[in-house]
């Protein structure tokens, strides 16, 4: 069949599936092996650990295999406030990030289209904070918002807050930190969506009797949905599991601990591996459920 090499279409059609099947498998192999080793195995290990019981010896940090599903009951009852707080913080921070990012992304992606140089510079500015470790940046915010810092001194002088009150350690401080740290993950997907937005549709909308507000609601916003969905997911998911901002060492206090803070404490301080694992698995399960419902309801199933 030497002629097949010259592209006889029917002959190819019969051969292609099996051949490409093997090639596809070969191409997928590295990825599949990677996922198996570094995603599936640890996940299984985590689930197994979450069901372990304390060792018979009673030594701290020693556990043996078991099927202690009660671990899950314990985390739900013990950590309910932290679980609720995590999702509350994540929701509020995601919404604030969206409100700040949308106009910014629209400005960079649509208004700056005619000036590509400026557009690129603005994008670099959006991701510029990533060049510095986010631990350092969060510490820096702690300094800025400390009671002796210029901002708090000014607030105290206006009498809005009494000197016995502090900003650090409050819900607002943690939400601020979370929003600040994750906002580029909202801006970038919004930008990529809005960058391709056809502004001629705005003219078509206003030509068809829609006021600027109506054009935004009926044309711009629906067409930005892919960016909004991916942005909110990219921000919400890591925030729900964040353990840095809410920690007492950074912007939080004992009253702001989140799921991540508790996992951190259980794993590294009390060495209660089963409880930490159960909390992690629970967090993952809740996020998967929330995200599926969210994506389904927003009508962008193809993201899943």
């Amino acid at each position: 069949m030497a002629f097949a090499a010259f592209g006889s279409a029917p002959a190819k059609e019969h051969k292609t599936p099996t051949k490409s099947g093997k090639i596809v498998l070969a191409l997928l192999m590295p990825g599949l092996v990677y996922l198996g080793l570094f995603f599936f195995t640890p996940l299984m290990s985590l689930i197994v650990t979450s069901l372990e019981v304390p060792a018979a010896s009673g030594a701290i940090g020693e556990y043996e295999y078991g099927f202690a599903w009660q671990n899950y009951v314990t985390v739900v009852t013990d950590y309910m406030p932290q679980i609720l707080r995590s999702f509350y913080y994540a929701t509020v921070a995601t919404l604030i990030a969206l409100l700040f990012s949308y106009p910014l992304a629209y400005f960079i992606g649509v208004k700056l289209r005619s000036r590509p140089m400026l557009q690129r510079m603005m994008l670099v500015l959006v991701i510029a904070p990533f060049f510095i470790s986010f631990l350092l940046r969060t510490i820096a915010w702690k300094q800025i918002f400390s009671d002796g810092g210029a901002i708090m001194q000014f607030v105290y002088s206006t009498g809005l807050m009494s000197t016995s009150d502090h900003f650090l350690g409050t819900d607002a401080a943690v939400i601020f930190g979370l929003t600040y740290n994750f906002i580029p993950f909202m801006t970038l997907p919004l930008f990529t969506t809005l960058e391709r937005f056809d502004v001629r549709l705005l003219e078509a909308g206003s030509d068809l009797y829609a006021s600027p507000a109506a054009v935004f609601r009926k044309v711009t916003l629906p067409l930005s949905m892919p960016g909004i969905i991916s942005g909110t997911l990219l921000v919400f998911i890591p925030i729900a599991g964040d353990y840095v901002n809410a920690s007492q060492n950074f912007l939080g206090s004992s009253k702001t601990s989140m799921i991540g803070t508790m996992v951190d404490a259980d794993f590294l301080q009390t060495q209660d591996y089963p409880l930490a694992s159960a909390l992690s698995v629970l967090l993952m399960a809740v996020i998967v459920v929330l995200v599926s419902v969210y994506v389904r309801r927003s009508g962008t199933d193809d993201l899943l």
């Binding site: 056809d198 001629r200 003219e203 078509a204 206003s206 030509d207 068809l208 829609a210 109506a214 009926k218």
Partner: protein, 374 residues
């Protein structure tokens, strides 16, 4: 058809409209009146200001000076969504996240008109796309999208429908078909159409009145036949069809005609067909009005004869043959001969004379580019 359109649209008036962009003037003091119910075409090359005119009427562009009146009402300060105008955009600009039906119903819903879906469906049926109502714009061909854009504009029964080169992206066959449909729809609904195009055939074929634009102003305006028979400027005579132009000083003037001398030949134009009657003028004739002769023809003073000249090019275009004849001291003259089998068989290099009736000459008000300063 099913849609109950108002009997006619409104008239449009532009008063001294001017538009400056940084660095150049797109429109210079344009005055225009389009009577209600007319199919009006703005014709011109790209960059002549025709699209700017349309965008100013739609409200998408603000004039630097002047007024826009629709149905006698000054709308210069109105926002696009407040004007009784709809546009069929060159890019169609259909909303990709909506079905065809929702696209068409968009304007109706914005104005809270009753039964938007039923009316949108009627409009889709008018453009014979009722079967595609639930599809998305991306699933339609260019021609179908164009018809959706037309339905989306028409369904609102605007006082004035603006067409921004909507047929530009279509292939020739579909384009001709859409031209016929568009004209039929306009006759049926009786709306005022303002059609912007650079395709002279399209403009002449569809419009009641054509305005030829050049460099931000209207060169000439009138019925297509009148524009073609009596172009008044060199630009119009070349942009609308082809012309043979001859420039010379007036050497003879009678009660009814003027003559110029070009390369030893006398070229005559009736006085009532000459825009300029003194000094150096330009006389033109359409190539299809001319004939050639192998021997010097003996014609009366009601004919113009030039020649002899050598045939330097012959083009067969199907319905006619186009001959290019180089006449010494005069230049190239183009002759179209109908391909009806009675014209003489002629070869490249032969020497011929060209003639036409004086009544087919036209005299321009200006001189072709390059002849102004001589």
């Amino acid at each position: 058809m099913a849609i109950d359109f108002k009997p006619s649209g409104a008239d449009l008036e532009l008063v001294n409209v001017r538009k400056d962009f940084p660095g150049f003037t797109a429109l210079q003091d344009m005055d225009l009146h389009i009577p209600a119910g007319e199919f009006f075409a703005l014709l011109g090359p790209s960059g002549c200001g025709k699209t700017t005119t349309l965008r100013i009427v739609a409200g998408l562009e603000e004039p630097t000076a002047g007024q826009v009146l629709i149905g006698g009402k000054d709308v210069t300060a109105s926002k696009p969504h407040e004007r009784p105008v709809n546009t069929v955009f060159q890019s169609y600009a259909l909303f990709p996240h909506m079905t065809i039906l929702e696209n068409v119903a968009f304007g109706l819903r914005q104005r809270k008109i009753e039964e938007p879906v039923k009316k949108a469906m009627d409009a889709l049926n008018l453009v014979e796309l009722g079967y595609a109502a639930e599809r998305r714009p991306q699933q339609l061909s260019g021609g179908q999208q164009q018809r959706v854009a037309l339905a989306r504009a028409l369904v609102n029964r605007p006082a004035l429908l603006l067409l921004d080169e909507p047929l530009g992206a279509l292939d020739l066959k579909l384009r001709r078909q859409m031209q016929i449909e568009l004209k039929a729809i306009q006759m049926e609904v009786g709306l005022t159409f303002l059609h912007v195009t650079h395709d002279q055939e399209e403009a002449m074929d569809m419009a009641d009145t054509v305005a030829v634009m050049n460099k931000g102003h209207i060169e000439q305006m009138g019925a297509p036949e009148a524009l073609y028979e009596r172009p008044k400027t060199a630009f119009v005579s070349k942009f609308l069809g082809q012309s043979n132009l001859f420039v010379g000083s007036i050497v003879d003037s009678s009660a009814s005609s003027l003559s110029i001398e070009v390369g030893g030949h006398k070229i005559t134009v009736p006085k009532d067909r000459a825009e300029k009657q003194t000094g150096k003028i330009c006389i033109g004739v359409r190539p299809e009005k001319t004939t050639f002769h192998r021997t010097k023809p003996n014609l009366g003073s009601d004919h113009v004869v030039v020649g002899p000249g050598e045939i330097t090019d012959i083009r067969f275009t199907g319905v006619s043959n186009q001959y290019l004849i180089d006449i010494p001291n005069v230049g190239d003259v183009t002759v179209f001969a109908q391909n009806v089998g009675i014209s003489p068989v002629i070869e490249l290099g032969e020497n011929v004379w060209v003639s036409w009736k004086v009544e087919h000459s036209f005299g321009l008000s200006d001189l072709p580019v390059g002849n102004e300063d001589e």
